[in-house]
């Protein structure tokens, strides 16, 4: 795809100002909900139907005993091989021309299949509207040649967006520059995500970040095997029944019953 975009999240440049969190809500007109203090700056505590991106605050002590903050902007990874798109019955979740995963809310029927399918645990359900919500990488802004509101708001350059090749190169160059355990996260699984991380530490260190995410096997069995098999089996039975009828013939009583034509003398008893 020529227009394929990648948003790069360089966690090493993030200061956790949460400007992206606010900008996301503002652009997408999502309300703030009452939250609670739970002993962390991470607020709200988790992604919500109205909070599509969230800075996760993590206190980390390295092997050498050094303390540091890990800030990770969580949100939809926009997978190429997206489990949510695979399971969505209505096409509400779909791939856009930018390679991102768009959400056509008016088509969402609130089945919540994507919630169970997503390997990153991203979609959130709103009981009141009976629909799911998630980041669509500001599809309406991308179409207008604008960067997503989170990228636009980022003051440190931790968030950038651009063409796929360029951004992948940039991510690897940055990881190399950082050295140590720094690594690129996202391009190696689910067909490559359209959100890449440059992580300062190994992926396993980060909370709520799967090390090797994939489309769940059960969903492959369901959508790629059983779904076509349902039609094949039914078609086979129909064809078999037809062949049975014309080759073997139906099973008939040995003597015609009163409803069937045949020996007249037996009829009308």
């Amino acid at each position: 795809m020529e227009k394929e975009l990648i948003k790069l999240i360089d966690t090493t440049k993030c200061t956790a100002c949460r400007g992206c969190q606010v900008a996301c809500k503002q652009w997408n007109e999502m309300p703030g909900l009452k939250t609670k203090q739970w002993g962390s700056y991470q607020n709200p505590p988790d992604l919500q139907w109205n909070t599509w991106t969230l800075i996760r605050f993590q206190e980390y002590v390295s092997d050498k005993g050094a303390f540091k903050w890990l800030f990770r902007k969580d949100g939809c990874m926009h997978c190429t091989d997206a489990a949510c798109v695979k399971v969505c019955p209505s096409g509400a979740l779909h791939h856009t021309e930018f390679g991102t995963v768009g959400l056509n809310s008016s088509r969402c029927i609130g089945c919540k299949e994507c919630v169970s399918a997503c390997p990153f645990d991203i979609p959130r359900y709103n009981r009141e509207t009976d629909k799911i919500y998630k980041c669509d990488l500001c599809y309406n802004r991308l179409r207008g040649d604008e960067s997503p509101s989170c990228v636009k708001s980022c003051p440190t350059g931790a968030l950038t967006i651009g063409r796929k090749d360029a951004m992948t190169k940039k991510a690897y160059a940055r990881a190399k520059e950082l050295g140590g355990d720094a690594n690129v996260y996202g391009d190696k699984f689910v067909g490559g995500t359209h959100v890449l991380y440059v992580l300062d530490e190994k992926a396993k260190v980060y909370d709520n970040l799967p090390r090797d995410p994939s489309v769940p096997f059960s969903i492959i069995v369901w959508k790629d095997m059983l779904k076509p098999l349902a039609l094949l089996a039914a078609g086979g039975v129909l064809a078999g029944s037809f062949l049975h009828y014309i080759l073997h013939g139906p099973k008939l009583p040995d003597e015609p019953g009163p409803n069937e034509p045949g020996k007249e003398e037996k009829g009308g008893e």
Partner: protein
Amino acid sequence: MRKGLIQATDGFERIVHWSLALSCIALCITGLGMMYQSLNFIGDMMGGLKSLKYVHNFTGVFFGVALYFTIRMWWKEAGIFSMPEDLEWIRCAGGYLWHVDKVPETGKYNPGQKMFFLAVAGFGAIMFLTGLMMWFPLSFPAMIVRLMYVLHALGFVVIFAFFFVHLYLGTIGSPGSLDAMLTGWVSRAWLKKQHPKWLKEMEEHGTLVVYGEEKTAAKGHGH
């Protein structure tokens, strides 16, 4: 009705059968509308796919109730194989697939029907339980819910295929059979061919109900 016809099913059996059958068909159609995006249009006649979802879910509840009565009603007659004659019947496929000189005589339900009943009972129960969990997926761990989707799809593969077998053998594949589920009255010739052992049993026990004859022996399932 005409004289000489024999009662094969009572009204309760037929109501339960059609409650299960019609809800099953409705579930298949609405389920297809959600399983294949190209069939989303099925939702249009219900006011959208979201309404279709609710039609599917609530029909599922009805199906569950019908299935309960189906299993309770037919378990003794169709859920248990009688050996060894049923095994012999299966070995020659009841004479349905190739020529067999002498097919073992079958009672009210032949082993093929029993297998169909067990498939519907087993997979029907699976469909009901998995469907219920899929209705409230956020109440269970995602790992479990994913498995429910697989089982639900597997159940559909089996039930959808079996539906067409049932449709064929209940209509043109075995003329006269449909009457048993429509009016409940079948011809003696059909009964003699399809369920000779049952006919003999009813004659021996004096439970045979013949239209136009006075004897109306108490029959039924004790419901």
